[in-house]
């Protein structure tokens, strides 16, 4: 077991699947010799050769076309879209084609594609790079959407995503790439694609978050603990489907919940979670469902993003409000 960053854990998972299955392929802009603009695929071309890990021309729709066509000829593609903001260029490929093709064939053919893409704010990237675009994808039947919040889950989830015969959008958080380290086993292990995880147990209020906001929620939970408010923190890990069982079990214990996301509030993942809770668990709640989200502006220019992204203070304040309702 070694201490590994989030990004190294992803590289380790990719190394594992390339080694295990000769039909897996990694491709995208700069993923070959350069090892990706963030170095997520570093060393993999040297190890597995240019046939397995290769660069593409600069065109995201073409990259998705490659992934679909390669699936049709027996391959297990792992394309990278360099930044999530660039997925708009591949929207037909991901949403119009890939997510529907198993269905369109009446189940006869599989499209075991894992689209990896970095997202999320707080690293002062250029415009259109940091957007939280998960809302567009979680409303797509046929597509699974997962996003790890720590190095251990990053490795286990990327392996599960690649091994899944369903197409998976694997969202990697830019801010987490190098900001945290965890014990990560060297050997292969998987994290299930459709399960949330209780990352801190508590009895007074449930905080549901995903990706970088899990860390913010944990910080908020520490602050709340000082006033003897015991917060349970749930990391969704999968945004489609959402593991409501884990959330509901927690609510049955705490009877209060705050749903947190980094993305804008409008039509977000948090809205889906809140509506599920309202539909199935309202009688178990002692207070309204709290929500923490970014405001409904366009993703902000880099200098203002830290004022815009919800942080631990915002979560703590909302949790106190709901706790004291």
């Amino acid at each position: 077991m070694a201490k590994m960053t989030y990004i190294k854990a992803i590289t380790s998972g990719l190394d594992q699947v390339l080694g295990d299955d000769p039909k897996t392929l990694i491709f995208g802009e700069d993923v070959g010799k350069n090892g990706g603009v963030f170095r997520t695929t570093v060393g993999l071309q040297d190890k597995y050769g240019e046939d397995r890990v290769f660069d593409t021309p600069l065109a995201e729709s073409g990259i998705l076309g490659l992934a679909i066509g390669l699936s049709l000829t027996g391959w297990r593609p792992i394309p990278e879209i360099q930044f999530m903001g660039f997925t708009f260029e591949a929207m037909d490929g991901i949403v119009g084609q890939l997510a529907r093709d198993h269905y369109r064939f009446g189940g006869q053919k599989n499209f075991p594609v894992t689209v990896r893409t970095p997202f999320g704010g707080g690293t002062h990237t250029a415009e259109m790079h940091a957007d939280n675009l998960e809302n567009y994808f979680v409303s797509t039947p046929g597509l699974r959407v997962v996003t790890p919040a720590n190095p251990y889950d990053a490795k286990g989830l990327v392996i599960s995503a690649v091994e899944s015969d369903d197409p998976v959008l694997f969202m990697e958080n830019l801010k987490l790439y190098r900001s945290m380290k965890d014990e990560v086993p060297d050997e292969k292990y998987t994290v299930p694609l459709d399960s949330a995880k209780v990352v801190r147990e508590g009895t007074d209020i449930t905080l549901v978050a995903y990706s970088a906001e899990v860390n913010e929620a944990l910080t908020a939970a520490d602050a709340l603990a000082k006033d003897n408010i015991s917060a349970e923190v749930i990391d969704l890990r999968s945004l489609s489907p959402i593991d409501t069982d884990t959330i509901y079990a927690s609510i049955d214990k705490t009877h209060k919940v705050v749903v947190i996301q980094e993305a804008q509030r409008m039509a977000g993942v948090g809205a889906v979670v809140a509506s599920d809770i309202a539909e199935d668990k309202i009688m178990s709640l002692d207070a309204p469902i709290g929500r923490v989200a970014a405001p409904d502006s366009v993703y902000p220019f880099a200098q203002a993003e830290n004022d815009w992204i919800p942080n631990a203070d915002d979560i703590e304040a909302k949790a106190r409000e709901i706790f004291n309702y």
């Binding site: 065109a59 729709s61 076309g65 066509g69 390669l70 064939f105 699974r144």
Partner: protein, 371 residues
């Protein structure tokens, strides 16, 4: 720069001559039915030529029968193919069963030739999933988002190359309007960048619904677009089945030998409406404009060549038409006998491993469906 001095580059000349290499459509039989390339024609036995004619009569009859079915309300979306028989039958017959076909919505006749049934074609039109389940697995379903079939072709061709499959290529169709899509360029360019085996057909039938070919681009030919991606290309008389077949065969051989992709522009015409779904061509084109194309009909010229050779008669053709009509009517009965589709099946096909919500919905619909 002073008036009259020589410019460092003559853009006017470049513009005037850039299409020159692409403006010579390959032709074997001209519109009058005269053989202009006897050497090429001599490569084909009478039986082969008769087979070409039979396939065109088959496709024309399929077109007419589907128009009848549409009027009777027995088909859904259907894209008429009359006028494009030489382009479609001449090309598809140059490929082998192991080749991978990526069709668009006007390419059902090629799909049937490549390995699905007429009944499945009708089921596709009627909106039934069985229409997408083909006997020959080397086939995509008809693409609706024009351009997507081009980028997917790049992946199929690269997959073939990576598999080391010998004597195998991808082949794909779009129309003149399709060449305006960004995906058209991305698909041809990716395939070329990887030197993967594919043949890209552009069936230039003059119209993208109501927008004429000349409004799609200032390029004089669509074939010349390929040069930007480093891909060889050619225009072919798309009303001449022998020319289309010969060019397609050469393209397939070139691509299968590891030389990268080829683009073929077939010059053809859409006699009918864009689709059976309410398009009225009289809104955007005149009889005066369409008449020369009807005169260039691929069946007329082939009929003349075969009649001159003494291997074809009107009587024979009339009988064939009746046979084909019976075939299509029986296919329609098969299509109409297909089991009703169930929403629970739609849900089952959405994921390989159903999500908890979908599982619940499957149970709900199965309960409803068993009532």
């Amino acid at each position: 720069m002073a008036n009259g001095s020589k410019q460092i580059v003559d853009f006017a000349k470049i513009k005037a001559t850039m299409a020159d290499p692409y403006k010579h459509p390959v032709q074997v039989i001209d519109r009058e039915g005269k053989v202009v390339d006897p050497d090429t024609l001599a490569k084909y036995s009478d039986d082969q030529l008769v087979d070409f004619m039979k396939k065109m009569v088959w496709e024309r009859t399929l077109h007419e029968q589907t128009m009848n079915f549409s009027r009777q309300g027995r088909l859904g979306f259907y894209a008429p193919t009359a006028g494009e028989e030489a382009s479609e039958m001449g090309s598809v017959t140059a490929f082998k069963k192991q080749d991978f076909l990526l069709p668009a919505y006007r390419d059902l006749p090629q799909m049937i030739q490549h390995g699905t049934t007429v009944a499945k074609g009708f089921l596709w039109s009627k909106g039934h999933v069985e229409g997408n389940q083909h006997e020959n697995p080397n086939m995509m379903f008809p693409q609706i988002i024009i351009g997507a079939q081009y980028v997917e072709t790049a992946g199929v061709a690269l997959g073939i190359k990576k598999n080391g499959d010998e004597d195998r290529v991808a082949f794909v169709y779009t129309g003149d309007g399709g060449t305006s899509q960004g995906d058209w360029y991305e698909g041809v360019n990716f395939t070329s960048a990887y030197q993967a085996p594919a043949v890209f057909f552009v069936q230039n039938n003059g119209w993208a619904i109501s927008v004429p070919r000349y409004q799609q681009t200032a390029a004089e030919t669509l074939a010349q677009k390929a040069v930007a991606m480093g891909v060889p290309s050619v225009q072919v008389d798309g009303m001449d089945i022998v020319a289309v077949h010969e060019v397609s065969k050469a393209a397939r051989e070139f691509a299968a030998a590891g030389n990268g992709p080829v683009v073929i522009e077939t010059l053809t015409y859409r006699y009918g409406a864009h689709s059976s779904a309410g398009d009225d061509p009289s809104r955007y084109r005149t009889d005066e404009e369409t008449k020369p194309w009807f005169d260039a009909d691929p069946l007329i010229r082939m009929r003349k060549v075969l009649t001159d050779k003494g291997v074809w008669s009107q009587d024979q053709e009339d009988k064939l038409v009746e046979e084909y009509k019976d075939e299509f009517k029986s296919a329609m009965k098969d299509a109409e006998a297909a089991p009703a589709q169930k929403v629970s099946d739609f849900l089952k096909w959405t994921y390989n491993v159903p999500t908890p919500a979908v599982k619940k919905q499957i149970a709900e619909f199965e309960a409803k469906e068993s009532k």
